[in-house]
Amino acid sequence: MSRKLTIIQAITEAMDQKLSDDQRVMLLGEDIGVNGGVFRATDGLLEKYGPDRVVDTPLAEAGIIGSAIGLSMNGMIPIVEIQFLAFIYPGFEQIVSHAARMRYRTRGQYHVPMVIRTPYGAGIRGPELHSESVETFFAHVPGLKVVAPSSPYDAKGLLISAIEDPDPVIFLEPTKIYRAFKEEVPEEMYRVPIGKAKVAREGNDLSIFAWGAMVRVAEDAAKQIERERGWSCEVIDLRTIYPLDREAIVKSVKKTGRALVVHEAHKTAGMGAEIISIINDEALIYMKAPVKRIAGFDVPVPQFSIEDDYLPTSERVKLGIEQTIQF
């Protein structure tokens, strides 16, 4: 059986099912209890599972993440909600110096099967620091996995995989499209594997790599350019940002010979650079043009009246496609 759900509903369902399936699973975060989370991702779960398993914490991210590390080491599976990605920074040390390294330093004796969920990305008319897309910070840390779904189906399946993963997973949820559309989502539990990309649209002339809210932007651009110019672009939804699905990237560019990456993150040291490097390593001789990056600019995400101009648009992506194909 399946029904149509939004991304946020799919996320709630994944947590609900894992809470009921596995007594070790528990939720921690600010306002996730009575209030059901500022985006209502945990709505109804306190009533269902009680305050020992759905915990409203004090307002302190190092405290939340650090105590979740301890909970993990002693047998629990905590799912932490950070209210917005930029508010993870107070807990950055706990993530980088501990969550990511506990398995390593104890040679596998202790590990941290924790998930940190957090909305990320711009486009919701939020105040400053509600719109960041800093996946690079986590992709650069060995010991972490980083996931970013773009659809309800993947959101549920990837979150279940993340909860079952024995290692810490940073789970980035595209705020802008939390409720943007619905999609068929099976009622039962299922897994979407971490580390595997998905071909969101097949094509032959150019490969577009994207994740999260940018997948739709890429698809829009691909549709328009097909109509306008007759070029067929392949859109790859990477889904996992670390470890990247190298095989999928290389396979696609070997076919198309041209590539473009779209991401919201700042261009410099964004994951676009890593994708370019993978292509450089594995498929350089197949490339007919430089790989293009359509990315957030190297400026702080601006106040919301102009945030849409910060974000990659299908217009900018189309221009990039044109420049790449006509190189």
Binding site: N35, P58, F297, D298, V299, F304, T313, Q323
Partner: protein
């Protein structure tokens, strides 16, 4: 209500004085307090309204907390440093911020966080508790430069759980900086009540952990807030270091316009206990009535003037030149880097100018 015991109070909810204020607070200041509170409450209601109409983004209302913000900010001197959070525009306004600038901020304008000339009103701080450490630094610099200025940092009851709260108070204690830490304990951090935020019953008691005086004040009593803040300022300027002030108050409305407080709070108790019995403006009005400082005519005139002032500010804000996309490339550095210069060129040209393809 246990959280309301042991509070420093000067003006009772009935408008009676509990101590002599004659030599400290003159009538002109009292009238100013009243006028300021009326102004900012009208501003706050207007803003909630504008948000509903889609003329502003998400807004954080402060109604109910006027005495806490006005009482403390009015105690400052013009050159003092103010560190408001996203909820403290009342304080910013009485310290000299223009109403139109505050509107611009909530409209998502790039220029919404500029301090008026000669004032040091910091941008509304979004990451919780982080501004408390800055207020140690600015006060420290004032002290090093032998300038007679204090720094006043606002923060909430929820903020007291963050590590930065601790580090700020500890630094201020060690370096004896003239910093005033003003906690508006409004009972909630979004949906989380103080009892779940900490096992400690008060924020003020934490001062002792840093050898800093910690004072609990009725935050809806504008006299008590003002007098306590003044004393803290004098202490700071005398080189005696920081003060922690916890003022007990309540926000009547939602956390922000995106929040639904009925999910976590009994709005009935709220109305009974706070709005009808302890409102900061009503209370001061009672006092002023008793002392012949106010009358219906002045009230009517004030309301009219306030409405006009707000309307004028709104027109100013709405006719202020919109932020341009290219504004985002300004002020990242003193001198733009090559990527910034180049990326600015990637912005789509305004309609009609495009055609730069290939």
């Amino acid at each position: 209500m246990s959280e309301l015991t042991n509070l420093y109070q000067v003006l009772t909810p009935d408008g009676e004085l509990l101590e002599n204020i004659g030599d400290k607070l003159d009538d002109a200041m009292i009238v100013k307090m009243y006028e300021s509170m009326v102004l900012v409450r009208a501003f706050d209601r207007k803003s909630v309204h504008l948000q509903r109409q889609g003329r502003m983004g998400t807004y954080a209302p402060f109604e109910g907390q006027e005495a806490a913000q006005i009482g403390s900010a009015l105690a400052l001197s013009p050159g003092d440093w103010l560190f408001p959070t996203y909820r403290d525009h009342a304080a910013a306004i009485v310290h000299g911020q223009s109403l139109s600038r505050v509107f611009l901020y909530w409209m998502g304008h790039m220029e919404g966080s500029i301090s008026p000339e000669g004032k040091n009103i910091m941008p509304p701080c979004v990451p919780i508790a982080t501004q408390m450490v800055h207020a140690v630094g600015t006060a420290w610099a004032s002290k090093l430069k032998q300038e007679k200025h204090v720094s006043l940092a606002f923060f909430g009851d929820g903020a007291s759980s963050e590590g930065d709260f601790h580090e700020a108070l500890n630094f201020a204690g060690v370096f004896k900086t003239p910093t005033i830490f003003l906690c508006q304990n409004n009972g909630y951090a979004i949906s989380v009540p103080l009892a779940q935020q900490s096992a400690s019953k008060t924020i003020a008691q934490r001062g002792a952990a840093y050898d800093i005086p910690g004072i609990r004040v009725d935050g809806n009593d504008v006299f008590a807030v003002w007098l306590t803040t003044r004393a803290a300022i004098e202490r700071g300027l005398a080189g005696l270091g920081p003060t922690l002030i916890e003022v007990i108050t309540h926000r009547y409305g939602a956390h922000t316009t995106a929040d639904d407080p009925t999910k976590y709070r009994d709005q009935h108790i709220l109305a009974e206990e706070w709005r009808s019995k302890r409102d900061p403006i009503d209370r001061l009005r009672k006092y002023m009535d008793k002392h012949g400082l106010w009358n219906e005519m002045r009230e009517a005139a004030l309301n009219k003037q306030v409405a006009e002032q707000i309307d004028k500010a709104l027109i100013e804000a709405e006719s202020y030149p919109k932020s341009k996309p290219s504004d985002m490339f300004q002020h990242v550095y003193a001198e733009p880097t090559w990527m910034i210069k180049e990326q600015e060129q990637e912005l789509p040209k305004p309609k009609g100018e495009r055609g730069v393809t290939a």
